[in-house]
């Protein structure tokens, strides 16, 4: 065991992992956060706690991760390269570990231009690939980046992101290979809507032997409305929403669109359960946390195994 986290144990035992996601509040509203987390309790193996996602200021991801832990859900502490230099990163990793956090997701972060502080200075001291390598060095060598010994190194299960839908497609799997080489233990992908493309990407990863070395969890986001689907297709960078998805949502009664969205998500999960090289799925029910119990139930991933 590298970290002994619940996710690591689930994967090691060969179970199909099911992870969730919670965005910290835009303020210190602890009760709102506890409520969001409560919907995930018992329904997921781990919850990603986002780090100033879309470059909007929120409660810090390590602090929200701790509250998540208090509520009985294992957190996946997300860290972006946009907001911290290597000193702050290493300090926060140690602090998070000291408080019991065992999983991390290493990300570049959306550019600050997208958020509510576009005048800010992006740090980008490291990139996401280098952040993975740094956490691995801290964990496996017990060394800071600067070379000094760490007095009790952090045992972190290292996560990374992949977007099989961004360009250039043919080199996306090679970037995955680099993340494996850098030291990532698991991958959570961008929201999947184009199943054809993810099949190709996973099969390339299988051919390159990458899926033997790393657990891949494709991202699942149920569409709440036709508007959301169109927005994701047209406005969100790196998102690939095929027209069939939009047509399918448009094809049902207005009151049934959200239900159809969940249906599509469940069909995707069913396919991923059988797909060689896929170790689980990551559910990103954006501002729809209260639906997680229903989605988990309908996706047939309950009860979550105790490991």
């Amino acid at each position: 065991m590298k970290s002994g986290s619940n996710l690591e144990k689930i994967l090691k035992a060969g179970h199909f992992a099911f992870t969730g996601e919670v965005g910290p509040p835009r303020g210190a509203n602890v009760e709102a956060l506890r409520e969001k987390v409560s919907y995930l309790k018992g329904n997921v193996d781990m919850a990603n706690i986002t780090d100033n996602q879309t470059a909007m200021v929120r409660m810090s991801s390590w602090a929200a991760s701790m509250i998540c832990m208090q509520e009985g859900v294992e957190p996946n502490f997300q860290m972006v390269c946009r907001d911290r230099n290597r000193l702050a990163m290493q300090a926060d990793i140690l602090g998070a570990y000291a408080h019991g956090i065992r999983n991390m997701l290493c990300l570049s972060g959306d550019h600050q231009q997208f958020g509510d502080h576009p005048q800010s200075k992006g740090v980008f001291d490291l990139d996401s690939m280098q952040l993975i390598g740094m956490v691995k060095k801290m964990r496996d060598e017990g060394k800071f980046l600067g070379g000094a010994d760490i007095d009790v190194p952090p045992q972190i299960f290292i996560g990374a992101a992949a977007n099989p839908f961004a360009e250039p497609f043919e080199w996306r799997v090679h970037r995955l290979a680099k993340k494996v080489a850098a030291g990532a233990d698991f991958i959570q992908t961008q929201c999947v809507f184009n199943m054809g493309r993810i099949r190709d990407w996973v099969s390339q990863a299988n051919d390159m032997g990458l899926t033997d070395k790393i657990a891949i969890l494709p991202g699942i986001t149920p569409m709440k409305s036709v508007g959301m689907a169109k927005y994701m297709k047209n406005k969100v960078p790196g998102m690939d929403v095929p027209d069939e998805i939009i047509k399918r949502l448009q094809g049902v009664d207005k009151k049934k669109v959200a239900d159809e969205g969940i249906k599509i998500a469940c069909e995707q999960i069913e396919e991923f359960k059988e797909m060689k090289g896929v170790a689980g799925v990551h559910l990103m029910a954006i501002e729809w946390e209260h639906k997680v119990p229903e989605i988990a139930e309908r996706a047939g991933v309950l009860p979550r195994p105790e490991v």
């Binding site: 959306d110 980008f124 990139d127 961004a166 250039p168």
Partner: protein, 222 residues
């Protein structure tokens, strides 16, 4: 070269409004090539200022001069005998020239007439784009001659990030994704195997992070 852009005229007027005798001082190097602070721009700006103050019913002494370089002691000495005739110098050089002029003439206010923007190239007439951030440790040999530090919005050393779409950057669909360019060129060079190498964490101490920088070359010192 150093790329500069014009400052809004109102900002310039506000800066010089308290001075009676003003020298508009151009530079014959980068700012001339990027058409922001050469002889031509000095003439135009001086005329605009004269007209402005005339309209206000004020006559001010506004003179023009363009030096070969403002980042060189030798050329800055050329105005030593006239500097006392002015209450302020409005320099159209880059930030280097403005500061060098100010350092040389301690008691004369030296005001910036342009905004210094970046190190770039003239991509087409009237358009300049950034190419270098002067990080002090060039990586172009490893990135197919395309700089991820100056051309990737996130300075990603192992790109492309997840925001690359149709060869463009997530921040703006008119900005090329530097990593798409790097991959395209690595392919053209038949060196795609270079892409597989994880770029090590960069030492930013040679960049501005290390404090004000200095290059000392004993071999050329006299």
């Amino acid at each position: 070269m150093i790329i500069a852009d014009k400052k809004p005229i109102q900002e310039i007027i506000d800066q010089v409004s308290n001075y009676e005798r003003i020298l508009v001082l151009g530079c014959n190097e980068c700012v001339t090539v990027c058409e922001a602070g050469g002889k031509k721009e000095v003439e135009i700006l001086a005329s605009v200022l004269r007209m402005h103050f005339l309209k206000e019913g004020q006559e001010r002494k506004i003179d023009e001069r363009t030096l070969e370089r403002q980042c060189d002691h030798e050329y800055l000495e050329e105005i030593r005998d006239v500097i006392d005739q002015y209450d302020a110098v409005l320099s159209l050089a880059c930030g280097v020239g403005v500061q060098f002029t100010a350092e040389k003439y301690l008691t004369t206010p030296v005001l910036p007439g342009v905004n210094t923007c970046f190190l770039g190239a003239n991509e087409q007439r009237g358009m300049w784009t950034e190419r270098c951030q002067a990080c002090g440790e060039c990586v172009l040999g490893k990135t197919a001659g395309i700089c991820p530090i100056s051309r990737c919005a996130k300075r990603v050393m192992n790109g492309p990030c997840g925001g690359s779409t149709n060869g463009k950057c997530e921040i703006n669909s008119e900005v090329d994704c530097a990593w798409q360019l790097i991959i395209d060129r690595l392919k053209a060079l038949g060196r795609m195997e270079d892409y597989e190498i994880v770029a090590p964490i960069k030492d930013w101490s040679t960049e501005r992070a290390g404090g004000p920088r200095k290059v000392v070359r004993e071999d050329v010192q006299v």
